[in-house]
Symmetry: C2
Subunit: 495 residues, 2 copies
C-alpha cells in the first residue's frame, strides 16, 4: 500500500476512454467541435448513482420539490434574467484571417498577466496595443475587442422565433414559481430542485468534463423569507457539521468551523449555513474527505451578476482546487425581474406573516465536474494493480459475478445468482471470460467493490467466494445469504 | 362503481395543470412559443418511475448497455444519417403577410381530404390551385410550397459551426458504436439504450404532450447478425406473451398472437418478435391492459426513411389509437452510412462466425406520450371522487402520512413514520392540513395508493390506519410493520 499513488490526468482520461466512463462526442468525425462529451455505460451508472445520492441527501431530506423544465426557452426569459446582456465572453477577431479568440485568455497566455474577463473593450484594446499582440494563426492585426454571448440561439417554428438553450437550469424554476406556489401549497422556506442539461457556447472548452459546452447541472433554489430566521430545530440537525471556509473580508482567511457557529462566515444567514452543511454532508457521503473540500468566498468582481454574495464549494484535485458547486445568494433578483417583465405578481403568503417576495439561496452543482473529481481522487495505482476506490453507493457496479471456469454447472449457478442480484436492484456485472485474476483487475479498474466467484466448491456446498476490492480479502458466503450480505456491506460503508 | 367513467381531455389537462403533473413552459410570458412543456413535481416522480420500470424490464432484463450522449451534434452526423435531407415538413408561405403554415394539414382541414405529407411541391401546388386556397390570416396568395427541415440549427463556437439539436437519441448510439464495440466487449445481439431529450421544430405542435418540440425519448437499438437466429432459450422465455397485431399485407388484418408463433407477422425475424414481447410486457407492467394495445404495421409510404419495416406500438386512448413506440427495422442503414461518411470500419467480430456489419431493430419510445396515455387511461370519475388508478410502481407517491389532528403527540409520531418511509426509499407525501376526507381526495387525484393516518389510537397502541386508494378499505397496521406491509402491497400488484 505504501506504493499507492494517484493517477495523472492523462491516466484518468485513458481510464475514461477505455472503460466506458466518458469520451468525446461524434469522435468518428475529425472536425467535430470540442466541448461535447458522451457518458458511456460505466460513467452513466456512476452519474445516476451520484444523482440518486443528491436526491436522497438534499432534495428528499429537505422535502424539496423537483421539476424538469424545457431546455429551450424564449428570448424574453433571458432578457428578464439578464443573461442576454451579461453572460458574455470578451473576444477579438483577426482582421486578416477571421480567427476569433478569447481576449482575456490570449493576453494572459502571452504576457503572464492575470487578466480579468470583465475588462471593458477599451481596456482589452489597450493591453493588445501595449504588448503588440497579433493573431496566433496568421500574425494579422486584431479588430476591436467585443463581447460574445455564451448562449446558443435557436429559432423556433416557421417564424424562426428567437429562443435560447438555457445556460442554467435555474431560470425555469424562477419562471415556474408562480404556478408552483399556487398549486403545490408551498411553505417558506421551500427548495425547488432540477437536474438536467445546460449549455454554454464556450470559446475555449477544455479539460474533458471540466469546461463543457453542454453540461449537466443539479440545481437547488431555496425560497425564503429574508425577515424570518430558520427553524432552530432544523438548524440544530446540522450544527456539528464541519466545514472549511476561505473568507475574503480582510485578505484571505482560512477557517474550519462548525455549521452551528458559522452564520457570521455566511453573511449572518443561518439558512445559508444550513444548506451549505447539507451540501457538505452530501459530498462526504459520496466519499470526498472533508479536509479536501472548502467553501471559498468570491469577491464582488468574481461573482455572477445576479449574486449578492457567493461561495464556491471546491475540492482539491490533481488540477488544483476545482469548483464543483456555485453557491449564490441571489436575493429577490430573479423573482423581481421576472415579475416586472411578465407583469405577474410573484409575492406569496408566508403563513401569518403576510405577503413576501422570497429571497433565494442557490446551490448550483456541476455534475460532470463532480464525476471528474471522483475519478481524480479515487483512481489509484498500487504496486500490482489500478483500483478505483469509489464508495459502494457511487460505484457503477456494486457487484460482479464470475463462474471460475466454463463448466455448465458453474455457469448455471452463476447465471442464477446474477439474475437474483438484478431482481434485488443491485447493479451487477457478469463476466465469464479470461483468467480470474484478470477479471478481478477489470472490476478493480471500474471500482466494483465486491466480486463473487462461483467455483467447484459452490457446486457441492452452495457457497461462493466473496472478494472485497480494497482489502482483496476473500471469504466464503452461502449463495442464499449473498443479497443480504451485499446490502450490509454497502450500507456499512460511510454514505 | 357503476358510475365510474374516464375523464375527458380537458379534465385531464386540468388535473395536469393544477396538480403538478405538467404545464406549458414560460407560461407567464404571453408570447412563449407552443410545444414546450414542463414536468411539475408529481409528473416528474411519475416519469422517473416509468423510466425506472423501462430500465428494469428492457435495459437490465436484456443486459443492454445504456449511454448518455450530447444533444448538440455536428452537421456531418445528420448529413450521414439522412435527417438533413429527409426530416422535412411541407410548408407554404403567404406572399402578402409572410405567414408560414403546414401545407398538408391546411389542405386537409379546408377540403376534408387525406393529404400525404410526402407529396411533392408540385402536387401541393396543384391542390392549392384546384381548391383555390388562400392565407388563413390575410387571404393573400401562397408562394411555391417548400420543405421545412424539422431540426433546430445551433451555431457552435466563435466560428458559428453548423450543428443541430438531435431529432432522435438514436444517432449517438450509432456514432458511438465503434468505441463501444471496442471497449465494452460487445456480443451480438447487443442492445444499446439511451433516454433523453430530442427536438423537432414542429410547425404545428399540439395536444400538450402529444406533439412536442422538445420531447423525452427512451430508445433502444439492438445490434444483431442478420444471418443468425436468436438463441432459442431466450426466445422461449417470451413465447407465451400475447400481442395484438394489425398487419397490412393484404388490407388490414387484426390478429392476436403469441410471441412464440408471431415470427411470420414480423417479417420472419424471431429477434423482432422477442423485443416486441419485452415491450409488451413492460407496458403491461406499467398498467396498460393488453387488449388496449396493438402493434400496427406501417405501409412503405408511412415508414420513416431509414426503416425497411416498421410497426407502431399503439394504445387505445380517448383521442383514439395513439402511437407510443416506433419499432423500426433499420437494417445496416445507419452503420453503413456513418462508416461511409467517417471512413471508419463498423464491422464487428461475431464470435467464430467472422466479421459482420450488424443490423438494427429499434424500439423508439415516447416517454411524454406514455405519461399522457397513463393519465388518460387511469384518471377516473367516480360518484364522489376523482381517482387516478395508477399501479404502485408508477404512482408519483407510494404512500402518504397524515396526523389526524394537530396535536403534538400525533404530529411527532407522523413525522417519525414519514422519516422512516423516506429512509426506506418509498416516495412519501406528508400532509397535515385540512379535513382528513379532503386529504384522502387529494391523494386519490394524484394516484397515491396507500394513505396512513396517525390517530388517537396510535398514541396508545402504536398502530395506524392504512387506507387503500381503490377499495377505500381501511385496516389497522402496527407502525413497526408498515414498511414491510407497503413493500408487500406494492409488489403484489402486478408490475
Amino acid at each position: 500500500m505504501s506504493e499507492a499513488k494517484r493517477a495523472t490526468y492523462d491516466e484518468l482520461l485513458r481510464l475514461a476512454l477505455e472503460r466506458g466512463f466518458f469520451f468525446p462526442s461524434a469522435e468518428i468525425y475529425n472536425d467535430a467541435p470540442a466541448g461535447f462529451w458522451e457518458y458511456g455505460p460505466t460513467g452513466l451508472l456512476m452519474r445516476n448513482n451520484f444523482i440518486r445520492q443528491w436526491r436522497r441527501d438534499i432534495v428528499r431530506r429537505d422535502d424539496m420539490l423537483e421539476i424538469d423544465g424545457s431546455l429551450i426557452l424564449p428570448k424574453i426569459v433571458f432578457e428578464a434574467s439578464g443573461h442576454l446582456s451579461s453572460l458574455v465572453d470578451p473576444i477579438v477577431q483577426c482582421t486578416r484571417c477571421g480567427t476569433r479568440i478569447r481576449a482575456d485568455k490570449y493576453i494572459s497566455e502571452k504576457t503572464g498577466l492575470q487578466v480579468d474577463e470583465r475588462l471593458s473593450s477599451e481596456e482589452f484594446q489597450e493591453l493588445i496595443s501595449k504588448y503588440n499582440l497579433h493573431c496566433p494563426k496568421c500574425g494579422g492585426d486584431f479588430g476591436k475587442p467585443s463581447k460574445f454571448n455564451m448562449m446558443f440561439r435557436v429559432g423556433v417554428g416557421a417564424e424562426d422565433a428567437d429562443s435560447y438553450l438555457r445556460p442554467e437550469t435555474a431560470q425555469s424554476i424562477f419562471v415556474d414559481f408562480t404556478r408552483l406556489s399556487k398549486t403545490m401549497r408551498l411553505k417558506l422556506p421551500e427548495g425547488i430542485a432540477q437536474v438536467g442539461k445546460s449549455f454554454r457556447n464556450e470559446i475555449a472548452p477544455r479539460q474533458a468534463l471540466i469546461r463543457l459546452r453542454e453540461l449537466t447541472q443539479a440545481e437547488v433554489e431555496v425560497f425564503f423569507n429574508p425577515n424570518v430566521d430558520l427553524d432552530p430545530s432544523k438548524f440544530d440537525q446540522v450544527k456539528d457539521v464541519r466545514m472549511n471556509v476561505l473568507v475574503q473580508a480582510a485578505g484571505e482567511d482560512f477557517r474550519t468551523v462548525n455549521a452551528g457557529d458559522s452564520a457570521k462566515e455566511f453573511g449572518g444567514k443561518q439558512i445559508i449555513a444550513y444548506y451549505f452543511a447539507l451540501l457538505q454532508q452530501f459530498y462526504e457521503n459520496c466519499g470526498f474527505p472533508q479536509e479536501r473540500t472548502r467553501f471559498r468566498e468570491l469577491s464582488a468582481k468574481d461573482r455572477a451578476f445576479y449574486a449578492a454574495s457567493a461561495f464556491d464549494f471546491e475540492v482539491d484535485t490533481s488540477l488544483g482546487w476545482l469548483e464543483l458547486v456555485a453557491c449564490n445568494y441571489r436575493t429577490d433578483y430573479d423573482l423581481a425581474t421576472h415579475s416586472k417583465h411578465s407583469k405577474k405578481d410573484f409575492h406569496v403568503m408566508d403563513g401569518d406573516r403576510g405577503k413576501v417576495l422570497p429571497h433565494v439561496v442557490e446551490l448550483s452543482l456541476g455534475v460532470d465536474r463532480s464525476i471528474f473529481a471522483l475519478l481524480d481522487l479515487f483512481f489509484i495505482h498500487e504496486a500490482n494493480r489500478d483500483v478505483l476506490r469509489l464508495l459502494p453507493n457511487i460505484a457503477p457496479y456494486l457487484a460482479a459475478v464470475f463462474p471460475l471456469v466454463s463448466k455448465p454447472e458453474l455457469e448455471s449457478k452463476a447465471a442464477t445468482l446474477y439474475e437474483t442480484l438484478k431482481r434485488e436492484e443491485f447493479s451487477t456485472f457478469y463476466d465469464d471470460s479470461g483468467a480470474i485474476g484478470r477479471r478481478y483487475r477489470r472490476m478493480d479498474e471500474i471500482g466494483t467493490p465486491f466480486c463473487i466467484t462461483i467455483d467447484h466448491q459452490t457446486a457441492e456446498v452452495d457457497s461462493a467466494t466473496l472478494r472485497e476490492r480494497d482489502s482483496m480479502a476473500q471469504s466464503r458466503v452461502k449463495l442464499s445469504e449473498i443479497p443480504e450480505k451485499l446490502r450490509v456491506l454497502r450500507d456499512n460503508q460511510k454514505q
